[in-house]
Structure formats: structure tokens, C-alpha cells
Symmetry: C2
Amino acid sequence: MYRLFEFPRSGNCYKLRLLLTQLDEDFEGVTVDILSGASRTPEFLAMNPAGKVPILEIAPGDWLPESNAALWYLAEGTAYLPQGRRSRAEVLRWMFFEQYSHEPNVAVARFWVRFLGRPPEMEDRLARRIEGAHAALRVMEQHLAEHPFFVADTYGIADIALYAYTHVADEGGVELAGYSAIREWIARVARQPGHVAMES
Amino acid sequence: MYRLFEFPRSGNCYKLRLLLTQLDEDFEGVTVDILSGASRTPEFLAMNPAGKVPILEIAPGDWLPESNAALWYLAEGTAYLPQGRRSRAEVLRWMFFEQYSHEPNVAVARFWVRFLGRPPEMEDRLARRIEGAHAALRVMEQHLAEHPFFVADTYGIADIALYAYTHVADEGGVELAGYSAIREWIARVARQPGHVAMES
């Protein structure tokens, strides 16, 4: 049985909980309180030296960090990851976009606002993150204006990766009002079979 | 024939030039001068709405952005990407680590120092990036102290992804003197068959 080391209100962790649920996989969630340093202990760093959740424990002692790598691992051979070489590269294209252009802005803004209480001395940095978030959202909006999902017109792990933080972007001061295609896609993702909400 | 839209002194672009060369693939390099706005034109944004190089043109009108997605596409079916499901997830684990924890620090510090001339008003931000770079390098050092390469003890695209900016980290004020395993790995990568240097 898989074990998922997670901080439940983290979007990166939610990605795996959502896919595991949709795949109907048995798994045990293990809460790691990142706000009180639990991801910096020697035991945790032995599982992931980068000190980040989530970690997917595939078997005792076999730990896979990085949410999108674990999504890929779990989705292999299922309908959530297409088979064709070009489509699979497109899945990765959007997952790398997510980790480079989207998450560091959308998710970090949310972390600073929601979990750190928007410290006044970080307003300049927050403004840059919110600006970067809108740049990423514009790229998504343009794509979703012409496609129901990110790759091959089918719901899959690229959608899961991008949904996790997009649907709670407003918690970081990133308003979605101007992005109608994104809002329709969010509703479409939430209607997929087996969908579960993120812990709020 | 592939076309590679690239800024030659970019590590992300160099990743693809290096693998294409090692695979002995015919390709045409097309220089995009990102410093003068060439990645912000309507023609460029039609290829990649995120406005970033590199882009791998697979066929006329078929453009694949994101360096690590393009590495994966090119390496599929070759010795640069292992076959096993778990090893492939490990390749992705290190490539997502690269784009999330390594490149935004090591590469951005280099960009600000080398290409923007280290603007004094950015010193605080630069210091945070250099600190983040060392955190990423410590993770790499720990892994490389026990392994010759990142995955399956074999040179592959995870090494290419991490080599691109690591071997020029000093250009961003990130000294490698304290990382002996990384320095040995850099020398090992440079000895691989078909290796080509990055444009300096």
C-alpha cells in the first residue's frame, strides 16, 4: 500500500491525493506539519533531502519526491496519461510550466498570504509573485479558450497539476474574475468521476 | 529535421543542443536574442505563449517548449532515458527538482550577474537566489557522493538537465569549491562521448 507524506492544505500534496482517489488506490496519508519544522528533521530529510512534501512511499524505504514525478509514476498505464510520444511530451511541457512559471507564483503568493499572514515587509515580493501568477494564468486562459483540457482534449495529470493551485489562487490575492475559460475548466475538472476537494 | 530556437548562452537551450549532438541528430539552430525582446514578438508567442526559449520544432508548426519536456521527447527510446517505470520516475524527480529548486536560483543568479551586470538594487534578491542555489547544490552533493550519475548509475537526461547551469554556477557568484562530488561529476559528464561545450 502506498503511503503519502503530505501537508493536507498544500496543493502539491493534493495533486497526489486526488489522483490516488480517482485511481481507486489504497493509500495511507501521513500528515507532515511543515509549519512547525517537521519537514526539516533528519528522518524526513532521509526520505527527501530537499525537505519538501509530498513524498510518495512506493514501498517501505522507496520514496519518490516531487509531486509531478509521482503523478507521472501513478498515472503510467492509466487513462490519466496518454500513450503517444508527442502527447506525453505535451503533458510534461505543461507540468514543467506548472512547476516553473505557475507554482512559484500562484502557490507562493497563497502561502505568504494564507499561512504567513501577509507580512508587510514582504509586500514587494508578493507583488512580483502576483504579477507572475497573472502571466501564467494568461498562458492557461489562451490555451483553455480553445481546448477543454490541457492535452489531447482529455482530462489527465497535466490538468491535475495545474488545477491544484489555480482553483485556490484567490487565497493568495490572485483574482480569477477575468479568466472565463479557466473558470469553466475548473468547473469541468471538479465534475470528473471520483473528484475530491482539497482540504480547506 | 529539427529546428532549435535558442539563445546560445542559455543553459536551458544548451541542454537540447548537447543531447541533439550526442544523439547525432541533424538540427538547425535558430538564434533568438532574448536580451533585445525577440522572445516577446507575436511570431514567437505563437510558438510559445510563455515567451521562453528553448523551443524544439519537431515539424513545421509543431513546437515543443520547456527544455526538460523536449529532453524527454528526444531521449525516448535511447540510452539517455531508462526503460523501467521506477527509474523513469526518478529521472523526472531530478528534472522537476532542477526546474523548481535549482534553475530559479543557479540560473537566475547567473543571469542577473552576467547578463544584467549585477544591478546594485537587486543585491537583496541576488543574495536570496545564491542562498537557494547552495541549498540545491547540497542536495546534489549528497546524492553524487554515493552515485556517479543521478539515475541508475548511468549518464542520461537528468544529468544533462542539472549539468547545464551547475557547471557555470560560478558566473552567478555561486562557488563550487566546497562541492567535491559535484566537481567530479562535472568532469565525468564532460568526458561522455559526443560532449560539446556551451557557448561561453
